[in-house]
Amino acid sequence: MSYIVLSSLLFAGSLLAGLLGALTGLGGGVVIIPLMTLAFGIDIRYAIGASLISVIATSSGAAAAYVREGYTNIRIGMFLEVATTLGALGGAALAGVLSTGVIAVVFGLVLISSAFQSLRASHDVSGALQPDGAALRLGLNGTYPLGGRRQPYNVTGVAPGFGLMIIAGGLSGLLGIGSGAVKVIAMDRIMRIPFKVSTTTSNFMIGVTAAASAGIYIARGYIVPELAMPVMLGVLAGSLFGSRLLVAVRTTFLRKLFAFVVFALASEMIFNGITGKI
């Protein structure tokens, strides 16, 4: 396959992945890596490098809009970034040691849990929480726009949330994904941050987390400009288009369909990882 054909196909696939990733909230990276490894036979390390780049692009682009709308809690983001960047360094270091088969199996397992997470309804239970000592000292409580005014909220579970974010950062550095699924568990379930605040703040942190491991990926030669170029531009264009469509489209059916696709891709990644085909 000549380079012009390969890059055109990668661009088209990334466009679709970015579109579906934005519409379903799963992110583009979860489809990009299986697409590159399973459909094009590209080494998983190159796929992870290209995905990491696309993750920085989409999260920074989306975060720009969310920050201005006043949903993002910059202090929670900054505090948890200590955990995610530390984890990302560890994950990127691990990526150089583990075999590609093991990485493929871990990737598949994370993908399956992400698909399940995306199907579960989000429960907004915050607002009725007692102020938490650690959250008060760190000034993590905040307000967010709700029905024309700013609704205050309290945050809890600071220590376990922080610990889980180290793991989220580690998976991001190891697999080149935003690892939104683990962040949702840490921020929604444990820290009880309101849904809209936790998703936008998680998005805000993804770029910095990925940047922490991106240096190591470049140094190892995992980031190949020829592959990263079509993937980054495709995912970015797709997710921009997807976030515009988001208001107009009913996403329930799409979410189920996408979760099924991700589940199938994950199973194939695990199978190929175990049988040594990746």
């Binding site: 920050v67 900054m78 770029g207 910095v208 990925a210 940047a211 240096g215 470049i218 170029m229």
Partner: protein
């Protein structure tokens, strides 16, 4: 468990939010433009090339250090121009952290100045990996 249980949250910093939002948007647009320009150039020059990315045997991309990437870009090598765009993209969230540092310092929020400095140190370790990793080889 009423609304009265809420202590007043820290004041929202809309000026900082606007600066960070603009910075992120500009960074992504500039990086995408550089990657796009380098990409067109790459396709014109090497569209017929038959690449092999199936294994890591050939050792990955040679463009793996900042001086090497920039030198290539100044020599107008297409792949180095794309890689420069990717460096700009990686720099965007890092710059966002630097600007947050100024924002927290301006508010004399020393706890968050310290937390931001820790994040910057961790980022520096990761990004200096660009140099140190090569030194080990």
């Amino acid at each position: 468990m009423t609304d009265g249980s809420h202590t007043p949250p820290p004041e929202r910093d809309e000026a900082l939010e606007a600066v960070l939002g603009n910075l992120l948007r500009t960074g992504v647009i500039v990086a995408a433009a550089v990657v796009g320009a380098g990409g067109v150039y790459l396709l014109i020059g090497r569209g017929g090339w038959i690449p092999d990315f199936r294994s890591f045997q050939n050792g990955g991309s040679p463009l793996r250090s900042v001086p090497l990437i920039l030198r290539g870009a100044f020599a107008l090598r297409a792949d180095a121009i794309v890689q420069t765009g990717l460096l700009l993209l990686i720099a965007t969230p890092v710059l966002r952290v630097v600007f947050s540092l100024f924002g927290f310092a301006h508010k004399r929020d020393w706890l968050y100045v310290a937390l931001t400095l820790i994040v910057l140190c961790i980022l520096a370790v990761g990004l200096s990996g660009v140099q140190t990793w090569n030194a080990f080889k």
